[in-house]
Structures are given as structure tokens and as C-alpha cells.
Symmetry: C2
Subunit: 365 residues, 2 copies
């Protein structure tokens, strides 16, 4: 057990007596992501200069040090924790984690789980992050299942300046009970109200129709639970065609349908991009249209893309867990670190806990 960081943590907090007295600490899987460890270390250097966030970089110390040395950084805020294995994007997560005991994501998750940091950020394999976090980081008391959220671009919602919405779960929990869906709503509410800066985010349930009676028993029960909850701004059921419109800040669904929907959006974007290769290659005007459109889409993308929103939260844990995009460059990872620190500082797990408490009190009353 690499538990020596406990000492580090305890030393740092001595004198304050509580976590609030110290700077937020983020553990970064320095080896995770397509551009790691170059991008992760450059991100750490940036964050160390721009903020007072404390960083723990987990990975190969030599390679991390070599990368850090390429950039101006505030060394007093960066700690390196060694981990000599790396889970590659091509690895099968479950098997790889069993074989590579000293994987950076495992060590980083354990460090967070044991209290050595307030948040975990990784741009590595989603599967590995999900498994490592579930194994190493305790769930918030009362939480039944964690939920992997995805942040997706939508058209501008008008009343806020946000161009993205949260959908959860997208694959951590295949099928859900009504209670679990309600808890996903709490998680989405807590995260969106902090990160999207919408005081009462609009929460919707993904269903096959708008009416309260639509779907199976799980969905109708979940609808009732959300509607009756005073903490939630529940706007009712939404359907598949409402998803891209950004009607809701938070869309709640079981992991199976969330996963299919998320991947389908990716697939449609890909097909749109490749349309030119299809049957109409000969249509010159059409190809020009696509080229011109691409520049517009690129602009839309910069408004909404992962570099700005910093990654997808994996919610329900007592600590913040953020999955940054695999292709993230230094700026995107730096933003993910800042958002993770903000979510920890603003008490997202505590807010989820309060919602669950309220529900349990009402239920037993």
C-alpha cells in the first residue's frame, strides 16, 4: 500500500484542524490521455502559476520531472507520487487493472479515496477511471450507485450563457431503480448549480413521451419522486428530440439509454462530417457547402467543447472525480483541474448528501 501520502496530507493540514483551512488538492493521473505525460505536466505547470491549487501528479517520476522542467512552474504546489504502470487506451480496462497493479489511475484513485486529495482528474481510459474510482473512493453515504455524466453541447438556452447540458448516467449503471434515478437528479443538480452557475438547474427525465404516465413503472415512479422533491426544479419528461435542444440543464436517465444516446450523437456528428464521401461526391456545390459549414461548426465547437467545460464528472463519490477528454491538451486539462477544485471547494458531494438526507427525512416522516 502506497500510503505514505497520508503523512504528506496530515502534515499539510496540521494547525487548521479541518480541510477547509488548506488549499484544495487535486490528484492528476499524469500518465492518462493521448498526449500524456506532456499535456498533463504542462497543465500542472500552468495551474501552479495561475492558482493556489495544490497538485499531486501520479505517474513515472522521471518522465514527469522531465516534462515539468520544460515549463515554468511553482514547484512548492506540485507533489509527485510514483506509479510505474500505465493503462493504455487500447487496453481492456478490467483486465489491465488486474494485471497492472501499480497503474497511475489506481494509485491516484487510492490516494484520493484515502484522503490524500480532494479531487481526481484523469484524461485516460474512461473504463479504467470508472473501475478504479468505484474500487478506491467511497460513495457518499446513502448513495446507491455512482453516475457517469456527460457534458454535451446544446443550442443556447437564452436565460443563461451556457451552451451545454449534463446527461447522467451514461454507462456506469446499466439499469436503474426509481431511487437511483432520483439520486442522479440530486447529483446533476449539485454539479450543475456549481459549475453551470444556474442556481436552480432545470432537471428532466428522459422518457418516451411528455405525459407523467409514459414509460414503465421505474420511469413513472422516478417522475413522481422528482416532481415531489422540493430541492429540484423538475421540468418533467423530455423525449429524444428534445435532447439536442438544451431544454434542460440536467437530463436524468439509466446508463443503458444514456450510453446509446451519447454514442449516437458522436456517430451522427461523424456521419455529418463524412457526408461528402457518400453518394454525392460529384456535387461540387454541396462539397463547398460542407466546407463552409465546417468552419461554422468549428466556431460552435469552441463555444461548447471540452476545453471549456473541463470534462465529465463521475458523481456520487465523497470526492470529486473528473474524466477529461482523451484528446485534451494542456489548456483543457488545466480547466479540468480548476473545475475539479471548484467542485470540491464548493462542496458538491456535501450538497448531494444534503439532498439525500432531505429525501430520507421526508420518506421516514
Amino acid at each position: 500500500m502506497n500510503a505514505w501520502w497520508h503523512h504528506l496530507f496530515v502534515t499539510r493540514t496540521t494547525g487548521t484542524g479541518a480541510a477547509v483551512g488548506r488549499e484544495t488538492t487535486v490528484a492528476l493521473d499524469a500518465m492518462g490521455g493521448d498526449l500524456a505525460p506532456a499535456a498533463t505536466c504542462e497543465a500542472a505547470a500552468l495551474v501552479s502559476k495561475e492558482t493556489t491549487i495544490r497538485l499531486i501528479l501520479v505517474g513515472n517520476p522521471e518522465r514527469i520531472r522531465a516534462e515539468l522542467d520544460k515549463h515554468s512552474h511553482e514547484a512548492s504546489r506540485i507533489t509527485i507520487v510514483p506509479a510505474m504502470d500505465v493503462i493504455e487506451m487500447s487496453d481492456k480496462p478490467k483486465e489491465a487493472l488486474l494485471k497492472k497493479k501499480d497503474a497511475s489511475i489506481t494509485v491516484a484513485a487510492r490516494l484520493v479515496g484515502e484522503g490524500g486529495a480532494d479531487a481526481l482528474v484523469s484524461a485516460g481510459s474512461t473504463g479504467a477511471l470508472v473501475i478504479a474510482a468505484a474500487k478506491e473512493i467511497p460513495l457518499i453515504e446513502g448513495v446507491k450507485r455512482a453516475a457517469l455524466a456527460a457534458v454535451y453541447p446544446t443550442r443556447n438556452r437564452g436565460f443563461s450563457n451556457d451552451h451545454f447540458a449534463l446527461i447522467l448516467d451514461v454507462g456506469a449503471t446499466v439499469r436503474c431503480t426509481p431511487d437511483q434515478l432520483l439520486q442522479f437528479a440530486y447529483m446533476g443538480h449539485a454539479y450543475a448549480s456549481r459549475i453551470k452557475r444556474v442556481p436552480t438547474p432545470a432537471i428532466a427525465l428522459l422518457n418516451m413521451g411528455e405525459e407523467e404516465t409514459k414509460g414503465d413503472e421505474v420511469l413513472t415512479s422516478a417522475y413522481r419522486l422528482m416532481k415531489e422533491d422540493p430541492r429540484l426544479n423538475f421540468i418533467g419528461n423530455i423525449e429524444g428530440n428534445d435532447l439536442p435542444k438544451g431544454i434542460a440543464d440536467v437530463v436524468v436517465c439509466e446508463g443503458f439509454v444514456g450510453n446509446v444516446v451519447l454514442k449516437m450523437a458522436e456517430g451522427m456528428t461523424e456521419v455529418m462530417k463524412n457526408l461528402g464521401e457518400y453518394a454525392f461526391k460529384q456535387k461540387f456545390l454541396w462539397r463547398i457547402g460542407l466546407a463552409l459549414l465546417a468552419s461554422g461548426l468549428k466556431q460552435l465547437k469552441t463555444v461548447t467543447d471540452y476545453r471549456e467545460y473541463g470534462g465529465a464528472p463521475f458523481l456520487g463519490f465523497s470526492k470529486i472525480v473528473i474524466k477529461a477528454h482523451g484528446k485534451s491538451g494542456p489548456r483543457a486539462i488545466a480547466n479540468a483541474i480548476k473545475i475539479a477544485a471548484k467542485a470540491a471547494r464548493d462542496g458538491v458531494p456535501e450538497e448531494i448528501r444534503r439532498s439525500i438526507d432531505g429525501f430520507e427525512r421526508r420518506s421516514s416522516a
Copy 2:
């Protein structure tokens, strides 16, 4: 009970002793659809001139006769069956069907269910068609639940000239057992092999990953059942991003996820069309790009749209049921009628029955 058509049917088949000896008969909900009864009656006139299909038009006789008289038609092949109520698109299907006892869709479905025709075609409310068919037309022996299929455009699959794939169920059965999903595969196989002219259509199961172990128990069991079935060309699991690519001829899924996915595709198309209204109104080049692209998309649409594929089959019944698009014009409805007649003539229900028989024999062996 408006059962006088029994006489009509019996008279017509006298002398042959079997249904094969007579022309295929299609019952058309003459009052269903945005452009009914003008479009439905013109379609009937077209079909009566172009084919030997017998047609039963169900609806207001006076209005039907007035519309028919506007077009050259072969009167000997057209019968009118009166029904004085109409389910409007804005009606709530369940309530409307209870109130409007003499609705054209109910009378048409009953006529088909009682043996007066081989197939039912309606461009009216999907909900009303689903309820009326489920109530009036017997399921194929052994079929557990009917499945509403959707036909959606995909990129060209190369080995066939088809630009569309079948996905089922898209909302008739919210949650499914493995057996039901297997039966949906049989239905898709039977329909696609007739209508798409692919002798062994590629069948896929919609899931959260490619591996056999993905998803919950229902999905892993359904995977095994499909894989072990010698009648099916089962290509395994596909994910959301594969849907628009047209990897499979038939995609099998439970009604909940199928419904969400189908509506989401509609929503994304809509958002793409409206992109110009969003944040980038000022980008002149981008708007031109969209305009040029629109003409290309229009061409893609004509290759794949409902006018060609004739409508979405509602499968599992002893008779053919086709839902034509609500906006269908005369040519689209004529194609739906021809496809319905072809599916009936080619024995799609019998083929589904044979698949179920084979499964039951293997299971009990």
C-alpha cells in the same frame, strides 16, 4: 359489428378455396394522414391503374367517392367501407379511440383482423394505429409482443443498394425479455429479407459495447439466443455511434431505447437545419454553407425517404400492418400500399412463424 365485408371476401374467394388464389387485398385508412382523404384516394386510384392489388378504402364514403372521381381509376378493384369518425393527429389516441367508436382506423383494423384484407395501411396517428392493430388483429401464434419498426436512412452499405436500415422496437414494447428481443430479430429478418431484397439481412443488437458480456442479463441472454439461431445472420452488438453508419440491416432493441434514439435522430436533424438561427447568424459564409448543404441533404433524402421505402411496419401480427408517414403524398401512400401487398404476398407473417417454430423445436429438443 360491420362484418358485411365477410360476404365480400367469401364471394371473391369462392372457387379458389384458398387465399393464394385471389389478388392481395389491402385495407387503407382513407381518412388517416395530413393530406387525407385527397392523398389516400389519389394513391388508391394510382394503385388501381398500376397493379392488380385490390383496395378497400375505409372512411367517409361521400368524401372518398368525391376524391376518387377526380382521378382515373379502376373501380372494379376498389371497395369503399364506411366509417364516419376520424382520429385526428392532435387527438390523444387512447381516449379518442374509446370515444370515436366508428373511427376509420378501428374499422380498417377490424376488417383486416377478421380476414377481410391481407394488409392494413394508415398514414394517420401512430398511437391510434398501434392501439387499433393490437386490439383488432391477432398476433402470429407464438409471438409475445408486436414490434413497431422504423426505417431510417444510413450511408450506403456497399454490397446492397439500400440506403436504409430497420430498427425495432421503437416504442410498442417499453421493456423486453430476451425471448421478445429474439422474436424482434425474426420479424426484422423476415421483413428485411423481403423488402430490402437482402437474402440474409445482417442483424445486430443495440448495446453499450461490442463484447458479448456487455449490458445487463436481458441483453447478454438475447445476444446468446440470436447468436445460436441458425436462421439469423447475427453480427453481434452494435453501439449508438454505429447506428447512423448502416452497419446492420436490422437493429434490435427494446422499445424504450429505440424510441429515444429515433426521436433523437429527428431532433438532431432539426437542430442541424436550424443551426443558422443560432449564435452565428452574422456568419455570412456559414449561412451560405448551410444553404448549399441543404440542397445536398435534400438529394440524400430523396434516396432514402419514406416515399421510397413506403412506411414503417408494425410486425408480429398475422396480417401486414404498415404505418405510412403522416405527411405522405399520393406517391408515398401508393408505395406503402405496394409494399404492404408485397409483404403479404411474400408471406412475411409465415416466415416469422417458421422462425418461432424452429426456435421452439430447438428449445424443446
